[in-house]
């Protein structure tokens, strides 16, 4: 079964409530997640990402569509018959059990002999470097330690897919960065598929092999982090991930566009009428006045240590962010008029 997808979601829809109070949470979602892939569902709260995770775990049942894990249809299977385990947002460790007992919980359910359980629990705790805490209770552990135990508990039964529901959101920034690296190493070591849910775009970009950006119960765009960042296809995706400048323009025939201010440039597109162009702050260039595609005035410059971020006012009233990583280069004075160079290869034509 190595050639089949780890998780295969086909045309899944899900709603809550009935009648007029009914809410559609997922609309015809399809995803194929590969073996040993680190796949992330990214989106704001209420976009349906957690519901999709819960459907895969078996806590919810799909209204339509099918879900299979490792080629086996599990659409109607209860959670305890699915080869997946979940790391919960609040960890959900059993307070009446020691760390050891928590990690061994699933193994006891599998009726594994006691000596093998002990060995497997030891292995799992070693993986997350928590061996010395085996006899403690969850209440005696810090947030980061509980996180590790939750990971060990979910990994101990060796699931085909590990589901992670915003597992890092309760940790402080420094610990979160550390755990991100650890998660990535852990995935390589365990050699299993990780399905990660987060609303943190930076986390998604750092960790994932592929990211699916969700909004309103649909997947808007799916691809490697670099594609999502550099080539967003939707206005929502562009806006949600990192800083971006959006420019309202007009599509002209023969792959040309007219920018505000009247400048025309050639840019491949299939659109008509009004369109939105997107460009990342680090991809635009500051040029001499009257040069480039847009004219602007420098309002403010912020020094960020690794770069300068200029806030510019466009002639039509909009603002434009520009990131200058060459700290030793020429720096425009506040209030001065500049031209903006927008390389055609850095401009994206967005769907609304």
């Amino acid at each position: 079964m190595t050639d089949s997808s780890a998780v295969s979601i086909r045309s899944v829809s899900k709603g809550f409530g009935r009648g007029t109070a009914a809410v559609r949470v997922l609309e015809n979602v399809s995803v194929e997640i590969g073996q040993r892939e680190f796949f992330t569902l990214l989106g704001p709260s209420g976009c349906g990402k957690t519901t999709l995770l819960r459907l895969i775990a078996g806590f919810e049942t799909a209204d339509q569509g099918s879900i299979s894990i490792d080629g086996q249809d599990v659409t109607q299977a209860p959670p305890f018959r699915r080869p997946v385990n979940t790391v919960f947002q609040n960890y959900a460790l059993f307070p009446h059990m020691t760390v050891e007992q928590n990690v061994g919980f699933a193994l006891v359910e599998q009726q594994m002999p006691a000596d093998r359980i002990r060995a497997r629990v030891g292995e799992a705790l070693e993986m997350v470097r928590m061996q010395s805490f085996a006899r403690r209770r969850p209440a005696e552990l810090s947030g980061g330690q509980q996180q590790r135990v939750a990971l060990a508990r979910a990994l101990a039964p060796r699931p085909r897919v590990l589901l992670l529901d915003e597992p890092l959101s309760a940790l402080d920034l420094k610990l979160r960065k550390e755990m991100q690296i650890e998660l990535k190493l852990l995935q390589a070591e365990a050699g299993i598929t990780f399905l990660f849910v987060t609303h943190d775009q930076e986390e998604a970009l750092t960790l994932s092999d592929r990211v699916a950006v969700m909004q309103g119960g649909r997947i808007l765009q799916m691809g490697p982090p670099r594609d999502i960042y550099e080539a967003p296809t939707h206005r929502f995706v562009a806006d949600f991930i990192g800083d971006i400048n959006l420019i309202e323009a007009e599509a002209l025939p023969d792959n040309a566009v007219r920018l505000p201010g009247g400048t025309q440039m050639s840019l491949p597109h299939k659109a008509r009428g009004r369109i939105t162009l997107a460009i990342r702050p680090e991809r635009a260039r500051i040029l001499a006045p009257e040069a480039g595609q847009l004219q602007a005035q420098v309002i403010h410059t912020a020094y960020l240590g690794t770069a300068l971020v200029h806030k510019l006012a466009l002639a039509d009233g909009g603002t434009f962010l520009l990131r200058q990583s060459d700290l030793d280069g020429p720096q425009p004075a506040i209030g001065s008029q500049v031209g903006l160079g927008l390389p055609a290869e850095a401009l994206r034509v967005l769907a609304q």
Binding site: N90, F94, F105, A106, R153
Partner: protein, 293 residues
């Protein structure tokens, strides 16, 4: 008062200590003292008798006409029956109380408050009245007996004046004491733990056994104690619904202080009942300490 903090603390504690000594300590000492005396004339106690353990010996042995002591199990049987009756009531309360408490914990805020109110309302009614109500329901021409009789293949089943009737009455009276502690545990219970258990391969019943019940154990223990202990000493319900045929410890004690006018023997029985409750509570405390460790 003085500036001495130890003395000051003692002064502040005096009202509490005096209350405990006067209302709990003194009656207890009196009870134990009377249990060592003899049956007297019109007052029920012969205050001048020499203290002896005679009343306690009477619980299990009686003097034969030739002076030898022979075993008399009638009081021990009543004692055992009281314990079994209390245990049965506790079991029934748990059986009915657990699902109710679980269900209540899942309700909305307002519905919960309403349910709590409904559960406490019977407390506003006199215990005697509530037991008479059961008398009417369970007696031969009562609606429950009629209903049971109409569906039963062996004809009418006597529901009143037996151990079952006493168990029903006691369970009804003490059920809230089981529901309330269970409810407080379930109200705080994190239901995501059950999802976690399912996720780790535990079926519904396995998740209940390995996660819900162990976490609810303090509530189960508290509720059981609150039902079991008052049941041991109950006398209204066995007298009314048991029809005086199935006596419990409480009835014997009441009889000794009432009709028999034998206060010292009644006091001895009361001390035994007290000791029994103490043993149950200590055993429970030891068991809970072991679990926490």
């Amino acid at each position: 008062m003085t500036g001495n903090p130890a003395l000051r603390r003692l002064g502040l504690l005096t009202p509490a200590l005096a209350t405990i000594a006067l209302l709990i300590g003194l009656p207890l000492i009196l009870l134990i003292w009377i249990s060592l005396l003899q049956k007297g004339g019109s007052s029920g106690v012969d205050w001048n008798a020499a203290p002896s353990l005679g009343n306690y010996i009477r619980l299990a042995w009686e003097e034969d006409f030739d002076g030898t002591m022979i075993l008399n199990t009638s009081y021990l049987v009543i004692l055992l029956r009281s314990v079994l009756q209390a245990a049965l009531t506790t079991g029934l309360s748990l059986l009915f109380g657990l699902p109710v408490a679980l269900w209540m914990a899942g309700l909305s805020r307002g519905q919960r408050d309403l349910m709590l109110l409904l559960i406490t309302i019977p407390f506003w009614t006199n215990l005697l009245v509530r037991n008479y109500a059961w008398l009417i329901i369970l007696r031969e021409d009562g609606w429950l007996a009629q209903a049971v009789g109409s569906v039963s293949p062996i004809g009418p089943i006597p529901l009143l004046y037996n151990d079952l009737a006493v168990a029903i009455g006691l369970t009804y009276s003490f059920l809230p004491f089981m529901i309330l502690p269970l409810y407080t545990v379930f109200e705080k219970f994190d239901w995501r733990l059950l999802e976690a258990a399912h996720d780790l391969g535990a079926s519904r019943s396995r998740a209940l056994r390995r996660v819900l019940i162990p976490i609810a154990m303090p509530g189960i223990a508290a509720g059981s104690l609150l039902v079991f202990i008052p049941c041991l000493g109950a006398f209204v319900t066995p007298a009314l619904l048991g029809g005086g045929k199935t006596l419990m410890l409480g009835n014997i004690i009441q009889m000794q202080f009432g009709a028999s006018r034998n206060w010292p023997f009644g006091a001895a029985l009361a001390v035994v009942l007290l000791a029994l409750m103490l043993i149950v509570m200590v055993a429970m405390a030891i068991w809970r300490n072991r679990r926490v460790r």
